[in-house]
């Protein structure tokens, strides 16, 4: 197991950010940590690098007990942070060079690792460009390259594509997918449903510091939302009526902004859902059902 958390609790004063959290990341898999803002994803990531210390529970990373053996665990993992923390006045190559030292890459291998990281991130022709002159997508690629320069066994990706446009996001997805296919274990926190659906072997949905569901995306969809959903459009008053009727009939609903999605159609006890657009149920349906519709 690359990561194993059991009953982890982290409090900040009166606020409990992580509340009895369990998580498994099997070796060589990509696990998506999905949850709304404030669910405890970033705190969990900090616990895994011992930049936060758990109040209760056990944390095992790559076979090492945290926080006691966190330093040796960190030597074997790479971290891509949510916030850009590159050295902006250094060039792309210099940024990577610094981290070959910090991650203790042997002297004889430094050059080769830097070249491999530049190649992997498609930044070889930008090696002499200062980090503050790179586009947002290039900076994000450099952050990923920096986390991989020592060829880690485990990579933590904290919201890896937040704030990026769709083209750049797809480019990064291909990179993460390539990593996974080569056997690197990945824990990726995200609030982009599509990202988790496409990249993660299993997903843990987090809400208020707890794991509210864990499984393969398809299984979670089947289990919590059913195979299909019906979208009903209309005026707010009509949507309220549809919602009430669907719930009275044993189905689940979620608002999508302009419509109501009727879920768990197989549970219908009152003749089935109303007329509307049929579509496959998706992970976003599960996410909203389990984490609630209110904005934190």
């Amino acid at each position: 197991m690359a990561i194993r958390l059991r009953g982890v609790v982290k409090r900040f004063g009166a606020i409990t950010a992580v509340n009895g959290f369990d998580l498994d990341v099997p070796e060589g898999t990509c696990v998506g940590l999905l949850g709304p803002n404030g669910a405890g994803k970033s705190t969990t990531m900090k616990l895994l690098t011992a930049q936060a210390i758990a109040d209760e529970g056990t944390i095992d990373v790559l076979g090492y007990d945290l926080p006691k053996d966190s330093k040796v665990a960190r030597a074997e993992m790479g971290v891509v942070p949510q916030l850009d923390n590159l050295d902006t006045t250094l060039t792309v190559e210099q940024n990577l060079r610094v981290f070959t030292y910090l991650y203790r890459v042997p002297r004889a291998q430094r050059r080769e690792r830097i070249e491999a990281a530049l190649e992997m991130a498609n930044l070889a022709d930008r090696r002499d460009t200062r980090a503050d002159k790179l586009s947002g997508g290039m900076r994000r690629r450099l952050l990923i390259a920096r986390a991989l320069v020592h060829r880690p066994r485990l990579v933590l990706l904290d919201e890896p594509t937040v704030g990026l446009d769709p083209q750049v996001r797809q480019e990064l997805w291909a990179l993460i997918d390539a990593l996974r296919s080569e056997g690197t274990s990945i824990l990726m926190s995200t609030h982009y449903i599509e990202e988790a659906e496409r990249l993660a072997d299993t997903v843990t949905i987090m809400s208020h510091g707890e794991a509210v569901a864990t499984g393969r995306p398809a299984e979670l969809i089947e289990q919590h939302a059913g195979r299909e959903a019906v979208e009903v459009y209309g005026a707010p008053a009509k949507l309220r009526e549809v919602e009430a009727a669907a719930r009275a009939g044993g189905m689940s609903t979620r608002r999508t902004g302009t419509s109501v999605a009727i879920l768990r159609l197989d549970d219908a006890t009152n003749g089935g859902p109303p007329e509307g657009e049929r579509r496959p149920a998706n992970l976003e349906d599960v996410f909203v059902l389990l984490t609630g519709e209110e904005i934190a």
């Binding site: 960190r74 250094l90 030292y101 991650y103 992997m120 990179l175 990593l179 056997g183």
Partner: protein, 271 residues
């Protein structure tokens, strides 16, 4: 995107990693050195020109009114005293602002602490780097003073070492101040109430023997005073056990501030 490289095999033989490791210190130092290559001109300019201006202003200003102070030519007195000023300027402010910016704005420490580096190693390596710089910049006023009549002496070879110990202490103090302050604006309070008085009551520009008794006693608690006395000892001849005491105070200050800086920085970086 091109293909990635496969993860390295785990090295279980290296399972135990200790404290204050050379490789972790080297990693942080290399980061500082590579960064320094992008801003060394501005730092070197301010760290050498500023104390030199003090030296020239006081040397020529007071020097025209006073020929000797405490048995020395005034230019020799102020030239050796300004060494401590150069060390102070190039260490405490670099640490205060540098660590605050890296911690709060650039998030550099988050990146470093995600690597196999502990807070203790981070603080130690940064203080070492600032101390090395201070030991070089501290010599600038001495070299300038030689053009105005300060005679070279073999003892001056000890000045970089004295500057290093003092710079390490002040760099650690700067890191501690940075860790205790919630806003960078609050540095003004520390500068006005702590650093400026220390800088003036250190025997740099005038001897402390002319000050009231309470100020003379207070000067013994001022690390800068001990730096000034040791530098003068190195340049003009040591004063036996008194200078050993000066060195002892400087070492105590450096070790105390180092440990406090590690404690304070850890509190700010580890939740």
């Amino acid at each position: 995107m091109a293909a990635t490289t496969a993860p390295a095999q785990p090295v279980r033989a290296r399972r135990r990693i200790g404290r204050l490791e050379r490789s972790a210190l080297a990693g942080v130092l290399v980061r500082e050195i590579i960064n320094y290559s992008s801003y060394w001109r501005s730092v070197t300019f301010s760290s050498t020109v500023e104390p030199t201006i003090y030296l020239l202003a006081f040397g020529f200003g007071f020097g025209s009114l006073v020929s000797t102070v405490a048995g020395y030519d005034y230019v020799e007195f102020v030239g050796t005293g300004t060494v401590a000023t150069a060390v102070l300027f190039s260490s405490v402010f670099a640490a205060m602002f540098g660590t605050f910016v890296k911690r709060e704005f650039q998030r550099t420490y988050d990146a470093i602490l995600a690597a196999p580096v502990d807070t203790e190693e981070l603080v130690t390596a940064e203080a070492l780097w600032i101390a090395i710089r201070a030991s070089v910049y501290g010599c600038a006023p001495l070299i300038v003073s030689m053009f105005f009549g300060l005679d070279p002496a073999w003892g001056m070879l000890l000045v970089p070492g004295i500057c290093f110990i003092t710079g390490f202490g002040w760099a650690s103090a700067g890191a501690l101040i940075s860790a205790l302050m919630k806003s960078i604006d609050n540095f003004s309070y520390v500068t006005s109430t702590l650093i400026t008085p220390m800088f003036l009551v250190a025997g740099t520009f005038f001897p402390i023997s002319g000050l009231p008794e309470w100020a003379q006693i207070a000067a013994w608690f001022n690390p800068l005073y001990h730096c000034v006395e040791l530098v003068r000892g190195a340049c003009f001849g040591f004063d036996g056990w008194v200078d050993v005491a000066h060195l002892g105070v400087l070492l105590f200050f450096a070790v105390l501030m180092w440990r406090l800086a590690i404690w304070g920085t850890g509190r700010r970086l580890i939740d």
